[in-house]
Symmetry: none
Subunit: 411 residues, 2 copies
């Protein structure tokens, strides 16, 4: 089944925001075996949205529209949908009641304009959106399904995953099932991973192999198509074995096992707690550690010691040490371990730029203190401030993981 | 003149890369006063590229194609252009010679496949590309210009700036310039802002007005077109005055003045420092405060007190108070102000879910302590854990801003 994604929003045409929604939906469709030949972007204009939908229906089997279903006057996807399908817009008393309740729960009065979201083209199905107030919509026209989801990424992703993609997969009646395995690695460059797997990449169609670099981690995705999920997985298996044997200990997780999950699991298994001392990363590491529900069982907290005075007074950094050195990172991790009263503490200090701090921009010192030992490691990253901070945060989580399982690096 | 950008590449449809080229071209066109009503993406397929070009010519005045003009077999934009215009592909001996020279200068032998780039539809003009080997192309069909530029961003940008945009501006016979002003608000719902500005939205074409919601902030963009930038700005001015008078103190910043920048500026002007006590947000607030270069002048640091024991031991939270109450938020902010030795401290504690913590999921208590006063405010957010954490972090930054300028809410 060929699905055309239409993103609605003048800000996309003006280049004020980048169309990440189309990429996210494209990737999710590919995983489900749904094809795409075209995508469109259209501004917030009723007749042009209608034109885009007609063009999409003409050359594709289904259309997914993202954006233009909020409460404001420039949200015109609902009207365009009514226009294209020739249906009247009708008012859902039931949904209007839900909207009023939503506002009442927040102790606020609902602006009347919100009721725009209770209109839908006659015959359309409203798709529940637990993350926001604009429901998704589904309608069929000339035998082809049209879906509308919000433009807000979190709401769009949730509705795509729970409502739209399952329905498209069913409608496509596709015999083939797609299975994929994602191996997550850290510690090798993308070009190094690519070189190690070059023959597998070049020579393979089903399963296929793809690389994805994100935030200093390299992911390898192997995807196969077959009659059944079990068959697809068995096509992947020999390739997965081969990749695992070539990449060895660089692989730290599979599928949804992010570094945060792995780290929390390792700590939980050992009955250990963790705490942080962050300087350069300013709270990013702790925010990631506390991102998962239930993290409070092992994550006790942390200190963001951004100015030197706090590093010295709260964490006991001796004032003879600079703030960007391996010694300083060890002192900060050891200090945090004592202050926070945790089993494992990690520290990040470094020079994120744009101006250098003691060391060249990109120099990052990461310290880990456990009941057994305390060591630091110097890392160097390129790129801008955001990238150096993000890469530093990821590296800290990985070095904590290695220390917890006793795989210490050389001091 | 209405210009339609078509990006060619299967990797765009699969979401393997994001279509930043379309955003870059869109922004550059807007600056030159060129309009866009639609954009398209199409895979590497001859007949589909032709279809996309025909659709573009049908509904726009000019088409700009990016991608698909490289040397490999899946580069098929040249063939599609010949197909749409009904012209034969002819071989340019002259350009073939330039290609051979390009490779010779690098001391390498040219792969024969590179000669694909010396073909062009009869009647087309080759546009020199000093940054790569694929020349741009320009051809007219039924009175409308079609441009092709490479997909490689640096080559695309250069060709757009030097060849395509000047020609489009001349062809459009317009010297129009676009100016825009962005007003940033917090504290009102999107629908509420929309209702307050309804008549301005509906009644205005030049300047036009648009809304953008992100992370509990609502932005209002006013855009005008005129002969000169000064004239465009003077068209915006009366509308800006009107919007400012209607939204009043909800407006906290203009254009690039994010809440982080505003907060750091206010503190810096007052010679004050700031620190944080985060529970629910786990470091997100501090990470945002330290995101900007130079933030270390006013941001001293923070404590992420994720487990209750740290809230009590480090920040002095009395154990008779729960952790999600206004009293607790005041105690945490006051404790952080003392421990960190800062002028202003903010605290965030709440119930982010999925399981409720003392209060229903979405309840967030934000505390601010300054030299003058210490108060807390209860906020309620809906959505999932990520959204509640992000909205809570944004709210904390805004309440700190209000407290610093003495605009305290009722205790």
């Amino acid at each position: 089944m060929i699905v055309e994604v239409i993103a609605v929003g003048t800000e996309l045409l003006l280049g004020q925001i980048v169309n990440t929604n189309a990429a996210v939906i494209g990737a999710a469709m590919a995983e489900r075996g749904l094809d795409a030949h075209f995508q469109q972007v259209v501004g917030d204009n009723l007749s042009r949205i209608s034109t885009a939908i007609r063009v999409g229906l003409d050359r594709s089997d289904a259309v997914v529209i993202t954006g233009g279903i909020g409460p404001t006057q420039d949200d015109m996807t609902r009207e365009a949908l009514a226009d294209v399908t020739g249906q009247a817009l009708v008012f859902s008393e039931e949904y209007a009641g839900q909207l009023r309740e939503w506002w009442a729960r927040r102790g606020r009065e609902m602006p009347e304009s919100n009721l725009r979201q209770a209109y839908y083209p006659e015959g359309a199905v409203m798709l529940p959106n637990p993350r926001g107030t604009a429901p998704g919509l589904m309608v069929e026209h000339e035998g082809k399904p049209i879906f509308c989801v919000p433009g807000v990424p979190a709401e769009m992703e949730h509705l795509m995953a729970t409502e739209v993609l399952p329905r498209l997969a069913t409608a496509s009646g596709s015999e083939k099932v797609i299975a994929s395995v994602l191996l997550r690695t850290w510690g090798r460059a993308e070009s190094e991973v690519a070189e190690l797997l070059d023959d597998l990449y070049t020579g393979s169609v089903n399963p296929s192999l793809a690389f994805l670099a994100s935030n200093s981690e390299i992911k390898i995705r192997m995807t196969a198509k077959a009659e059944t999920a079990a068959e697809a997985r068995s096509l992947i298996e020999p390739m997965e074995m081969e990749v695992r044997s070539r990449l060895g200990e660089s692989i730290f997780g599979t599928d949804e096992e992010t570094i945060e999950r792995v780290l929390l699991r390792l700590l939980s298994e050992r009955g250990q707690t963790i705490g942080t001392a962050e300087s350069m990363t300013g709270g990013l590491v702790t925010a990631r550690l506390t991102d998962l529900p239930g993290s409070s069982a092992v994550v006790k907290g942390g200190v963001v010691a951004y100015q030197t005075e706090l590093k010295q007074r709260l964490l006991g950094l001796p004032d003879v040490l600079g703030v960007v050195s391996e010694e300083a990172a060890v002192a900060l991790a050891t200090g945090a371990r004592a202050l926070l009263d945790v089993d494992v503490a990690l520290s990040v200090t470094g020079s994120a730029g744009p101006d250098p701090l003691e060391k060249p921009v990109g120099t990052v010192m990461i310290g880990v203190a456990t009941p057994e030992d305390a060591r630091a490691r110097e890392m160097r990253f390129t790129g801008d401030r955001d990238r150096i901070r993000a890469f530093g945060a990821t590296a800290a989580l990985h070095l904590a993981r290695l220390a917890i399982v006793g795989r210490w690096w050389k001091a």
